[in-house]
Symmetry: C2
Amino acid sequence: MRNNITPFKKDFMIDSSSIFRHLTPEEMAQIPLEQEPEFYKRGTIIYSEGQRINGFYCVQKGIIKIYKTGFDGKEQIIRFAKKGDIMGFRSTVSRERACTTAKVLEDAYITFIHGDIVIDFIRHNGNFALELLQIACKELGEANDYITDIAQKTVRERLAEVIIHLKKEFDLDNEKYLQISLTREELANMVGTATESVIRLLSEFKQDGFIEIHGRRIKVLDEKALVKIANMTD
Amino acid sequence: MRNNITPFKKDFMIDSSSIFRHLTPEEMAQIPLEQEPEFYKRGTIIYSEGQRINGFYCVQKGIIKIYKTGFDGKEQIIRFAKKGDIMGFRSTVSRERACTTAKVLEDAYITFIHGDIVIDFIRHNGNFALELLQIACKELGEANDYITDIAQKTVRERLAEVIIHLKKEFDLDNEKYLQISLTREELANMVGTATESVIRLLSEFKQDGFIEIHGRRIKVLDEKALVKIANMTD
DNA sequence: CGGGAGATTGACTGATCTCAACCCGGGTGG
DNA sequence: CCACCCGGGTTGAGATCAGTCAATCTCCCG
């Protein structure tokens, strides 16, 4: 194997949680080695709805917000992508235009791998294909949960659930605050409600001692209470 | 190739819309040839939430309702499966327990293919893997749309949209009525609302001349109006 | 004919949205 | 240096969509 792999690329390839761990050295060699991940500043839109995408965006660092824009222009946040996550594979595989927009929330480094290469991997590397299929299926399961929650739970329940999910997905800083900075509006766009409702419910949760808030920083004090409010089964 | 293929199986294999069209004769031979599709009567539960599934259920005929049960026992209908559709691949691929229940709405014939065989196909037949990935990605895109709709649209808008979707997905009978029989409650469980709300809105649509109703049979009279009500973009 | 499931209707309630005012802190230009 | 502006964040009041409850009706079936 050639040894002029950049640190970033090496990281991503060797990481045991990466789908690329299944690639043979020959396959890895197909990914242009000279390619450094690209830097994306907070606020940058990586791709947007309706755009053609042909390739995988592999997030090395940072946080990306992936959302759909509803009829009246309101964002619905579908998920976040962070280190190790892949964006754009739905469009690449199905050859449809992007149905979501990806916007940088926290400065990011992203490697782009062209669609032709990935499709080739899928065709010729069964483990890679299986892994990708598993990622898609995982997202599908989560989407189904999401649908059921939004359709059946109250805003209060959903907000509690969103906070729990955020805690599971993101690390805590040294003061145990969630390491993700979201505006009230963004929280509302995850929950599927109005900004004002989020504000009122957050201060309610704070009153009740379930969480602590400092600006956009949120600390979970009583996870059990939130889980109970959210009527979560898992 | 052996020629004692049953009519049903043959149908399914050769159908150009089937993912199995990519299989080689050798691979096809792995599917037990003597296996006739199984008959499932209306009301039968094929699998339910929490159950382990290891294989693909390939629908040859009939209609299956696929839903999740919410916290309070209320069903949320995720999708329907009909001729040519596959059920259970999410659980098979991700090796997780089923997160949905599949119940027969209209008498069905279904072929079951064991997980080991399918996983083997995925690993060794790139086109099969790609096709499956495309199915998963298609569902994923639909799920994202669904999330956004439920989160942002009114019940009225969603009901109009559901009717349009039903019309696209199911054939019409000779009187142009939708060929799917759903209770008001089932419609409500698609829309994510209460049965009474569906009833009121349906009779409103009827008053306005957008649809015609005879019991559970629905005929779309003014599709454009419904599309407009639904604020549909596509 | 009695029973049960599903459909319908009306009345009431309340969770949530909308609108509008106001606050707060940071950045900027004069 | 300070007034102003602007993007969030908060709060209150009022409006309303949609859910719940309860009564009634209509079939259909055994």
